[in-house]
């Protein structure tokens, strides 16, 4: 792509001087003196402690974690799809909170979590698609609902803020245990993605725990809403820990879901004890996300996500 900045590089300083106008016949170009490396090495840069704006020359790291490896088998690709879809759908849900959060600082926090999750999703989906030459976008925008493999917990609607936090609590505690274990996967790519993701979901877990404590221990109203939210969300926790035949076939590549249960339960028990919340006793939903059978709201969520891309088949964005 042609670089539009006249100096051609990308590091430029936006500066508006009254001398910017030229007296030649061609229209003037706004002067953008180039700043390379250390600004102090350029003696002609005005010593302006207050207003030089620069585009910083930073080393950009890899956008996606896990490198460029190709998934070795269909099973590995399928497993990566489960993980990618969980993260993608949760990210999509949180994206809907932006510009609607209870306080501006929370808009920033939820966007941060949504962005982290989207990064995880993209890494997993890229890997999943690598098996049969599909891109992350092919998978996100061109699969039908029945081809998605996300668990029902992630599909629970945002509801009010308490509902979102209850979902975040279960999701982040689960994801932290999952990624902690996945770092030891015999699959290098999955291990690498997990290593990066685990630090981020630890922060998400912390955010969810802090809010759980405040909503459960705040006002009567917030406590009422939090108790209701936990009750609504908990029936979908069971699915997270169900072992499937795919897991058996994947041996050291995948994390056995049931193995995560004790750690999950311990963390939740500690949080609930402090929040003075009771573990709901309602039965677990049989759900079915890993088989492509989904919660009713998923169809709407996917339709919204995919609508524009599908209006322009073959287009690049």
């Amino acid at each position: 792509m042609t670089d539009v900045y006249p100096d051609g590089q990308g590091t430029s300083s936006l500066r508006f001087d009254s001398q910017a106008r030229s007296t030649t016949a061609t229209p003037p170009v706004v002067e953008r003196p180039r700043n390379e490396g250390d600004e102090t090495s350029r003696p002609d840069v005005r010593d302006d402690a207050h207003g030089v704006v620069t585009v910083e020359r930073v080393e950009l790291s890899a956008e996606l974690a896990g490198g460029e490896g190709r998934a070795a088998t269909a099973d590995v690709a399928e497993y990566a799809l489960w993980l990618g879809d969980d993260a993608l759908i949760l990210s999509q849900q949180l994206g809907a909170w932006i510009a609607r959060a209870p306080e501006l600082e929370e808009d920033v926090a939820l966007a941060n979590i949504a962005l982290d999750l989207l990064g995880h999703a993209r890494s997993f989906l890229r890997y999943a698609g690598s098996y049969d030459d599909r891109t992350e976008d092919d998978l996100a925008y061109w699969r039908e609902e029945s081809e998605f493999r996300c668990a029902w917990l992630f599909q629970q609607p945002n509801g009010d803020f308490a509902q979102t936090i209850a979902r975040q609590l279960a999701a982040s505690v689960y994801l932290f245990e999952l990624y902690t274990a996945l770092q030891s996967s015999s699959d290098e790519t999955l291990a690498a993605i997990a290593a990066k993701a685990v630090k981020e979901v630890e922060y998400h877990r912390d955010h969810a725990v802090q809010w759980t404590l405040r909503l459960a221990g705040g006002t009567d109203e917030s406590r009422r809403r939090m108790i209701r939210a936990v009750g609504d969300v908990w029936p979908y926790v069971g699915e997270l820990f169900r072992d499937e035949p795919l897991i058996d076939r994947l041996a050291d590549v995948a994390v056995r879901p049931s193995a995560l249960r004790p750690a999950f339960d311990a963390v939740i028990a500690a949080v609930f004890a402090e929040a003075e919340l009771e573990l709901p006793t309602a039965p677990m939903s049989s759900a079915g996300g890993r088989h492509g059978s989904h919660f009713p709201t998923l169809g709407y969520l996917i339709a919204e996500m995919q609508v524009l891309a599908r209006q322009h088949p073959g287009a690049t964005w």
């Binding site: 936006l14 508006f16 229209p27 510009a99 209870p102 989207l118 909503l215 964005w317």
Partner: protein
């Protein structure tokens, strides 16, 4: 007898004027003319409100972004805007107004924000046009503000300008990709440019002789360049960029006038500007409604957090009393 009586106002004014004259900075607890303080509160809070309201037209496309990369970029941009609003509210607070007061003013319709955000965003190409044109215009306005005379405002602006550099680029790249795409995408891009071009020119405000606050703001070095001056510079930036994109700027009269050494443009229709400013744009009511709803819906959450903090403080001071100590100054550190 209070110290107020002893303050020599003429001396204070002279000191203030000298600081302005020397292009130095007024800091939060310095003496300043009441009119300067009021003007700054108005300008900074308006700027903050603009960032927050600006999250809405773009937030509209986060869930529908047509690729995961574009989704991530757009989320990051809107997140930055929330952050910028926060920096600016924070600067305004140093002048003696609270965030709650400013929020109430916005929701009650007593505060202004940039009228550019009173337009809808019906297509994805609007994301490109907003980034290229609206953020481009905002950058033109904002870079000079990095040298605004009020310290906290200038510093907030430096931070914002550093972060905003990607906003314009991402908008430009969205449009470039569209213009290099299918016929339908090209039409989408041109249509968005057609709709956003004139409003973005109007962002610089009416010609200065019609702008009542300009002269005083320039004297106080809160405003550094005239409206017309900035508008000219902006057009000069856009023209070569439009050529790269392959879009047509919707002004058949646009040309460089060598004798006048300025861009000759069609007459700007200021009636539209005034209509939108007066509340009769397409989205004025909705922008406020959306903000008000988020604020009202969030009240129970904010209350819960405040109540929890009060309870915890009560518990802590009770246990401090029992231990016989006093509470230390509340600072908390986190290091990595």
């Amino acid at each position: 007898m209070t110290t107020d009586v002893l303050i020599d106002e003429a001396a204070e004014q002279a000191a203030f004027d000298a600081i302005i004259e020397a292009d130095s900075r007024i800091e939060p607890r310095d003496w300043m003319p009441e009119a300067y303080r009021k003007t700054l509160i108005r300008q900074i809070s308006q700027h903050a409100h603009s960032e927050i309201i600006g999250m809405q037209p773009e937030g509209n496309w986060i869930t529908r972004a047509p690729s995961l990369k574009r989704k991530a970029i757009l989320m990051a941009k809107v997140q930055d805007e929330a952050g910028h609003g926060l920096y600016l509210y924070s600067a305004a607070q140093t002048l003696g107004i609270t965030r709650d007061e400013m929020t109430d003013q916005l929701i009650a319709g007593r505060a202004r924000y940039s009228s550019i955000f009173n337009y809808p965003t019906p297509t994805w190409a609007d994301m490109g046009a907003i980034g290229w044109l609206v953020d481009g215009a905002a950058i033109c306005n904002q870079v000079p503000l990095c040298r605004a005379s009020y310290g906290p405002y200038g510093r907030a602006m430096v931070r914002i300008c550093k972060e905003e550099s990607f906003h314009q680029r991402q908008g430009f790249e969205i449009l470039l990709t569209l213009m290099q795409g299918t016929p339908a995408q090209q039409r989408m891009a041109q249509d968005a440019v057609d709709r956003w071009y004139w409003p973005s020119l109007m962002m610089f405000g009416p010609p200065d002789d019609e702008s009542p606050n300009s002269a005083q703001s320039m004297a106080w070095k809160i405003k550094r360049f005239s409206n017309d001056d900035l508008r000219q510079r902006f057009i000069g930036m856009l023209v070569p960029q439009a050529e790269v994109l392959g879009v047509t700027l919707p002004d058949p009269e646009l040309r460089w006038d060598d004798d006048a050494q300025r861009w000759h443009t069609s007459e700007i229709d200021w009636t539209e500007f005034h209509e939108v400013l007066s509340g009769r744009g397409p989205m004025n009511v909705e922008r406020i409604r959306h903000r008000r709803t988020a604020h009202e819906d969030g009240a129970w959450v904010r209350e819960a957090a405040a109540e929890y903090a009060r309870k915890q403080a009560g518990i802590r001071s009770l246990s401090d009393e029992r231990r016989g100590g006093t509470r230390t100054a509340a600072g908390t550190e986190a290091a990595s």
